[in-house]
Amino acid sequence: MTLKKPSPPHRRIRAVKIPPGGYPALPRKVALQLLEAVQDPEVIATAARAIADKAEEMRGAVLRHVESLEQAARAADQTRIFEQAHEIRGLAGNAGLIATGRIANNLCKYLDALGQAGRQPDQELVALHLEAIGRAAHAEDEATRLGDAVANELAHLVDKKLAEINDSARRA
């Protein structure tokens, strides 16, 4: 027998824990069947094929969002730029556009951090991302070393900018 935790004299319990079994859940038989299904290699392979079958459709969707992103950039609409970049980062991976997704994610990360800090983004850095997203999404084979290199360079630039923001926030 061991003491689990010290009990402070002034303790005030405010949380109640409801263990599994103490609330409604799937019937045991169904739960076991479901567990078997999610671990079945054939089921996983069928589902993976379903994802692969949708890649072309996803690519079309990404390209439409790239157009909207470019329109948002022309209108200097920061909210829409973030929204469209966010859509692109969500879809690009399932379209096989890995570098496009990474670059869009960099841009989102940057715009989100700036928004949190109440700062305006560096328009040159945003423009670099927009151009890179457009080029990568339209490339025949974007999963090249070049696409990765661009994504890495932009990620480095974003990290540098965010570090500057953090530094100035710490100093303020």
Partner: protein
């Protein structure tokens, strides 16, 4: 192959992007689910939730007019929620820490980052089935236990009944 079909198991997919919604539905179909309802935002989803009482929810985070965080909170806390304990998997492209923390604090059960993979989704469904989480009710929160790992160095705050007392070994 398990070959199981789940005639009575109901899932709800909440996602504003139709391509992503279709993709998720095809994964659930591959798994053998017969009933996967769809909604494009949190407001519509809660109406379906009340009507169908799904056994599993897959939700996106960013949606209008009601996002995945507000929807999750509604499922967990609303007096007319048909099942506040339903497992909710949040599937999101958001990697920003504050967004993920907000979703966790709304009562999300599991996270899945986009891009979606069959293994990623099935792993989380398996986790929900095999290792269901305890639920915690406290001031300002009701949902799955957010202390996922047992941290031997945890120094508080101690707020739970089982944080104290004597443990038999």
């Amino acid at each position: 192959m398990s070959g199981a079909t789940f005639d009575h198991l109901k899932a709800l997919i909440v996602e504003d992007n139709v391509h992503m919604r279709t993709l998720l539905k095809s994964l659930l179909t591959a798994l053998g689910l017969k009933h996967a309802y769809e909604a494009s935002n949190g407001a519509d989803a809660f109406l379906i939730m009340r009507d169908k009482s799904p056994d599993l929810i897959l939700t996106d985070l960013s949606m209008k007019p009601v996002d995945g965080i507000a929807f999750t909170r509604e499922v967990r806390l609303a007096h007319d929620s048909p099942n506040p304990y339903v497992p909710i998997i949040m599937i999101t492209g958001h990697t920003e820490r504050h967004k993920v923390e907000a979703a966790r604090d709304a009562g999300v059960t599991e996270f899945l980052a986009k891009p979606i993979t069959a293994q990623g989704l099935f792993l989380r469904i398996g986790e929900i089935v095999e290792r269901p989480r305890a639920f915690v009710r406290c001031d300002g929160y009701f949902g799955p236990d957010r202390r996922r790992r047992k941290d031997e160095n945890f120094t508080g705050p101690w707020r739970r009944h089982d944080d104290f007392g004597v443990e038999m070994r």
